[in-house]
């Protein structure tokens, strides 16, 4: 256990380079800022799912519920309460966390199958709520008229999305640091124990349900933050933030990058958005087919084999850098 903590608390060179690259890309290609913002937001969303799935072991089919809740909360907050982006972000995150806490009560009951059903149902319920209460949410037309103040009163959201890109990246970085700290803490190690062997974790005195509820709430909060970022950077929220496809998208993004280590969601989001961009340009209508194909192929090849292969290749390239890959 001490080995886990040791290797974790050290900031590795690769991690530093990763973030440096992200900043460099944002700096070097501001004309694609909207695309980078899209990647960053999906990355944060995938990170939130990784906390639930990779660390909590909960397979969720309705994670978009929290994303969408955050998106609508940020939009409504900006319209009715205050157009300040940071306040809106905090409010949306807190709201999503509360929703996560409430739904964790029923999500954590029962077996894997019931969990699939319940997470899917929570997503559908929220979609239906947003659809029905069109007086509040605009229904199928979306929520228009969201104006966000400049950040700190200085950095105005521009049409090209440069401010939005930087803003999203900073929020992602801060929340990533929180997640990193969290997963390397005794709390995170305990979660891994629960994921790997629930019975033994109970036997050594880890309060299983309490821990799972906590990580589910945190994951929901992160997802809410991602949704809020989307609303604030695009100035719009529509029903598709709550759709089942969004839940499936983020699942695919996370699986592309690999679950159970925090960079998986980030890397997966990059691959996913670029893939989406390329494939949509090629076959705009049947993107769904290729997405399904990717899912099937990944599973049939075997996720472990896929990432085992990649990790092995990296380890062979840099054998001297010590530690396990």
């Amino acid at each position: 256990m001490s080995a886990v903590k040791m290797s974790g608390s050290r900031i590795r060179v690769a991690e530093f380079l990763f973030w440096l690259l992200a900043v460099a890309v944002m700096w070097g290609f501001p004309q694609h800022a909207a695309l980078w913002a899209e990647i960053v937001i999906l990355a944060l969303f995938a990170l939130s799912l990784d906390l639930i799935l990779g660390y909590g072991g909960i397979v969720s089919l309705g994670h978009a519920a929290f994303f969408g809740f955050g998106a609508y909360a940020a939009g409504l907050f900006a319209i009715h309460v205050s157009p300040d982006p940071l306040l809106g972000l905090v409010a949306a995150t807190a709201g999503a966390a509360l929703l996560g806490l409430l739904s964790s009560v029923i999500v954590l009951r029962g077996s894997d199958l019931t969990r699939l059903m319940v997470t899917l149902a929570v997503g559908l319920i929220l979609f239906e709520v947003a659809n029905r209460f069109s007086g509040l949410t605009g229904g199928a037309d979306g929520l228009p008229g969201i104006f966000i103040d400049p950040i700190f009163g200085r950095f105005e959201f521009d049409l090209a999305g440069v401010t939005g890109g930087w803003y999203s990246l900073v929020v992602l970085f801060l929340l990533f640091v929180v997640a990193r700290r969290l997963t390397r803490s005794p709390f995170g190690v305990g979660l891994e124990a629960i994921r790997d062997n629930r019975l033994r974790a109970t036997a050594i005195g880890i309060p299983v349900n309490q821990r799972l509820a906590a990580i589910y709430t945190i994951g929901a909060a992160f997802a809410g933050a991602a949704g809020a970022l989307l609303t604030q950077t695009t100035g719009f929220a529509s029903l598709d933030v709550l759709s089942f496809e969004r839940s499936a998208d983020v699942l695919l993004a996370l699986v592309l990058g690999g679950t159970g280590y925090l960079y998986g969601g980030l890397i997966g989001a990059v691959i996913f958005v670029l893939m989406h961009d390329l494939l949509s340009a090629w076959t705009p209508h049947y993107w769904l087919f290729w997405m399904g194909f990717a899912l099937v192929a990944i599973v049939l090849i075997g996720r472990e084999r896929l990432y085992g292969g990649v990790a092995g290749a990296i380890a062979r390239l840099a054998p001297k850098r010590g530690g396990r890959a």
Binding site: I106, T114, L116, M117, A121, R132, A248, H285, Y286, F289
Partner: protein, 285 residues
């Protein structure tokens, strides 16, 4: 009032036929096959094509839809599904969602995104009065067929040799194979049969439920509720769950249209809080 009850029963019966294949797959192979609705959709589209383009009588298309989806299942089980039985639920979920997306896009490509309609024969349309209750003939037809199917399934499971093999394989597949039961063959037959039932349900339900490329996604939650609430141990469990769901859904949409869509979730949450493992579970585990 009674008419709504009857409509609910018809709807529930239909859900049962659609979902019971999933219950078997899940109980038998512990495989969460979210793509179950795709088999139902295949049956539905086959019926649409046969009746509207080839002029095949509706009644004849029903067994054909069963056979078509069953063959589809029999092809996919050994080629794709079998490799995933031992894998984690995450893998199974990803895989079957992938299949759903592929089927949705393929149907969209082949038939367009619009809703398809099945032309019913004359004698199944209209309504009749039975003891003061107005009943749609087609719904009565569904109730009779699905009721007969449920009874046949129950008898098959409890009375025939195949049924006892199946139950043995569900209880403990290792010991069952040790006793000389070809578990793989049982799996294959059951999977094909369950897919066939889904296809039949899709064909029967195309009129009632509506058929478009998004069918497998729209009804995924219904299938999951039926199976999770009803359990996978018996035939009666999913049947009762499906009836409950059907009646609640129809009644909810009729009496409180604004919130009708939420009724099924309320029922689901209530059942789950009361009995987290489903309504009907055996003492096993």
């Amino acid at each position: 009032m009674l008419t709504i009850l009857f409509d609910g029963i018809a709807y529930g019966m239909l859900l049962f036929v659609l979902a019971c294949g999933l219950a078997v797959t899940l109980g038998l192979m512990n495989f969460a096959n979210l793509a179950h609705g795709s088999f139902a959709m295949a049956g539905g589209y086959l019926t649409v094509v046969l009746t509207s383009q080839w002029g095949v009588p509706f009644l004849l298309t029903l067994p054909l839809a069963f056979v078509f989806s069953a063959v589809l299942g029999a092809i996919l089980e050994p080629t794709l599904y079998r490799h995933l039985y031992g894998r984690s639920h995450l893998d199974q979920v990803l895989f079957s969602i992938g299949l759903v997306f592929m089927s949705v896009a393929a149907i969209d490509y082949g038939f367009g995104a619009s809703q398809q309609f099945v032309r019913l024969p004359e004698f199944l349309m209209g309504r009749i009065e039975l003891g003061g209750v107005t009943i749609g003939i087609y719904r009565l037809f569904i109730v009779i067929i699905c009721g007969a199917l449920a009874l046949a399934l129950h008898l098959m499971l409890s009375r025939t040799r195949f049924g006892s093999r199946l139950r043995a394989a569900v209880d403990d597949s290792r010991v069952a194979s040790g006793l000389g039961i070809n578990v793989n063959r049982v799996f294959l037959l059951t999977f094909a049969f369950g897919s066939g039932l889904a296809g039949l349900g899709g064909a029967l339900g195309a009129e009632l439920l509506g058929l478009d490329p998004w069918f497998p996604l729209k009804f995924m939650i219904y299938f999951l509720i039926v199976v999770a609430v009803g359990g996978t141990a018996t035939i009666s469990g999913p049947l009762i769950a499906a009836l409950l769901l059907g009646i609640a859904d129809v009644a909810g949409k009729y009496y409180i249209p604004q919130f009708g869509a939420f009724i099924i979730y309320v029922v689901m949450v209530a059942v789950l809080l009361w009995r987290p493992q489903g309504l009907f579970v055996r003492g096993r585990r």
